[in-house]
Subunit: 440 residues, 2 copies
């Protein structure tokens, strides 16, 4: 008789892109070690993808090929479904729902699906007593969900923030090193395979926002609320901004950040933002270059924790997927969002601009007398106190010049008001770029 | 009838120093949140320490005071014993053995005890089916044991290394910032409370070696072998070495490092070293200053993972202790060293000097003709190829000068041979300081 504790964990794998092939390779290369650590073998029994004929560089002959992906959940010989198909809805979501309804564990790398439907899936999984795990959905190979959900579980999290998109970070840190502008750097990144042909998802912040919404739910015990993420990408960041930040002691990073306002008598209000920010050179996130991801969690007892590593790629993502499978094989199920889904609180949305801090503001203006007076008057009228102001020498494109300033510590809403006061000004050739300065 | 799943996890707390008081404070401040995440309350029922009359700044009136610590394990109203007494043997070990023998979970921050007796305790705990957890024993509040044991569980770990002692890192990074020498900086650190009156345990590397031996066992699946750690402290590092390293693009850090030689046909050989090393300024560990700890794990699929945070202090350490308690409350027991203790392999000791790489060597010599020729001849005779060599201007202490060099990539054993050749030289006023250069 086989001890059920040592029976293989049987896996159906849906989606055979680079990550799916990575999972197959990993379980082949590290299979013995994985079985030793999991206490039993982890065995793929069935696979499925759109195109059966494609050569993926891995041997599929040992697995049952399933033509209808959504049927994988029905297989009696499967304990866990791994969903690597992608897309927030459609076949991925159908498969996820079916798998949980059939009482199977579900492991997914699908950040869009979890950001949009994570609460529904967690409720269903908890109702059925089966596992729902998505370590690979946030920050690739970095065990940050585990770090938050378990490692930092004893803490009230005061703030969580980090570099959540490798493409955007690659572009910003390359601009930093080369002095080139955004569009040239993006084109290079596309040629080198660091950016997609349609880069909007990465450079406009949507991908980071998916990850942030998931992290925020775990950190603050709120229902996942992707629509509440205020999102701004990096396409308006210029080489001149990076040079200016450098001169002031900062680098520019696309930062996803969440924290909570706790005001007596009011319900807690969650702020979630993905925006380019100025990061002091002494801060650990300032040293994160290339496609690397990094997440900082500030706990009321742990202090500042940093988790850093490869945020994407077949190897790191497969590492996270199989870590989830090992947890399941070890019998560690638990609530996907740390507290039971039914206890996740609806969170009010914190007022954007409700924070205080220093801000970098860059104006592009026509080079004519009185422009500086107009800008500084708006700052005065909005109660924004200026720490430093630099007007850059005349540019060569039709008399446009840059005016960059750093404010003293003050309410962000005052900065927003100043920008609003200048909205209809003829002097500005484009809307100002406003970036928060992260505290050291 | 109470659901056993929601019954409190009842804790006996032995040791009421700063960490013990921190655990009491944490469970008071974050108790509701901890109960929500753990699925049930975590409740201290009994406490014990040497001196009952001491004011620890926390209210002990709700707990049963136990005079005989080793009796805590016998209490029928306790599920888990938290051992914060310290010391590798003595009462701490007796308590740990008793607790496990009585079928209770054990949570400890005691790195010395785990480094020396972890294997015995793990075997006992696994035999009884009870939990043994020691996240707080390594790198304070950073969930690096969880990160390795679970987060990176799908990987063959190729190398694990990091900054494992906050005091040593505080001293080195302060020397770096101030240009002061070791002894003055140590004295300052002692005055500020960053170093103990007897600093040997921290600055000579023993504390880091305890932590390294624990990490290495988990990473490589070997029996904990503290005695095999080659250990060298930072007391011989001079301000001149730091200045020299800086000019060459490096900082100096006390690094604990472990990796494994896998040679066909031979049993795997584990190298464990705690030594001051040169770290390239572009490496994430170069930016770790002050009392912060950081651990890098290089997995064959995950790539380089970095875990960073506060390596000591009551808050961070209490955070790790309570994270372990939450795991236990959630029913997550598991093998303490990732694989069952009975499967941990005895590891051969890798030959010190069996690695290749670049090395920094600093000689203190008497300032007379022919010294450089003598040193460079020894290098030549030992097959050490020199990349750069700097002789520093005459010092004011009796004609002693420093000669620093960086070798080309080559076997470390050749460097050791060169140093051996120079051992009886009258020209050297002290043994050379040899430091490995970490690859970027």
């Amino acid at each position: 008789m086989t001890d059920p504790q040592t029976k293989p964990l049987r896996v159906a794998l849906a989606g055979l892109g680079t990550v799916g092939a990575g999972v197959i390779r990993l379980l082949k290369d590290n299979g013995t070690l994985v079985a030793d650590r999991a206490g039993r073998p982890i065995q793929i029994v069935s696979v499925c993808a759109r195109d059966r004929s494609l050569d993926r560089g891995v041997d599929l002959s040992g697995f049952v090929w399933e033509d209808d992906m959504t049927q994988m959940a029905e297989r009696g010989d499967v304990d866990v479904v791994v969903e690597l198909v992608g897309g927030s809805d459609g076949p991925a979501l159908t498969l996820a729902r079916n798998a949980i309804a059939a009482g199977k564990g579900l492991v997914t790398a699908n950040k869009a699906m979890i950001a949009h439907h994570g609460l529904e899936l967690a409720e269903a999984a908890e109702g059925r007593g089966c596992a729902l795990k998505f370590e690979a959905a946030v920050a690739g190979g970095i065990p940050v969900i585990k770090g938050l959900r378990e490692g930092a579980a004893a803490n009230a999290i005061e703030r969580i923030y980090g570099i959540l998109n490798g493409t955007a970070n690659y572009i910003l840190s390359t601009m930093e090193a080369s002095g080139a502008d955004f569009s040239d750097t993006l084109a290079d990144a596309q040629r080198l395979g660091y950016a997609e042909a349609d880069p909007a998802f990465d450079v406009e912040g949507t991908d980071a926002a998916h990850k942030l919404a998931i992290l925020a739910a775990i950190a603050f015990g709120g229902k996942v609320d992707f629509d509440a993420v205020a999102c701004e990408g990096i396409s308006r960041v210029r080489a001149a901004d990076i040079a200016q930040a450098d001169a002031l002691g900062y680098v520019i990073r696309l930062i996803g950040m969440a924290d909570v306002d706790e005001v007596d008598g009011a319900e807690p209000a969650l702020l979630q933002e993905v925006k380019p920010c100025l990061v002091p050179k002494g801060h650990p996130l300032a040293h994160v270059t290339g496609a690397t991801n990094a997440v900082v969690a500030e706990g009321n007892y742990s202090g500042r924790l940093l988790f850093q590593g490869a945020g994407a790629g077949d190897g790191p993502t497969a590492s996270a997927v199989v870590a989830d499978l090992i947890d399941i094989a070890r019998g560690e199920v638990g609530a996907p969002f740390s507290v039971p889904a039914s206890q996740l609180k609806p969170m009010a949305r914190a007022e954007t601009g409700g924070r205080t801090g220093q801000t970098y503001i860059r104006f592009t203006v026509t080079d004519r007398p009185g422009v500086l007076a107009e800008i500084t008057a708006a700052m005065r009228d909005a109660d924004v106190s200026i720490e430093s102001l630099i007007q850059q020498g005349r540019a060569n494109n039709g008399g446009e010049v840059l005016v960059a300033m750093v404010t003293h510590d003050g309410p962000e809403r005052c900065v927003a008001r100043a920008v609003e006061l200048l909205r209809d000004s003829d002097s500005l050739t484009a809307p100002p770029l406003v970036m928060k300065i992260i505290r050291d």
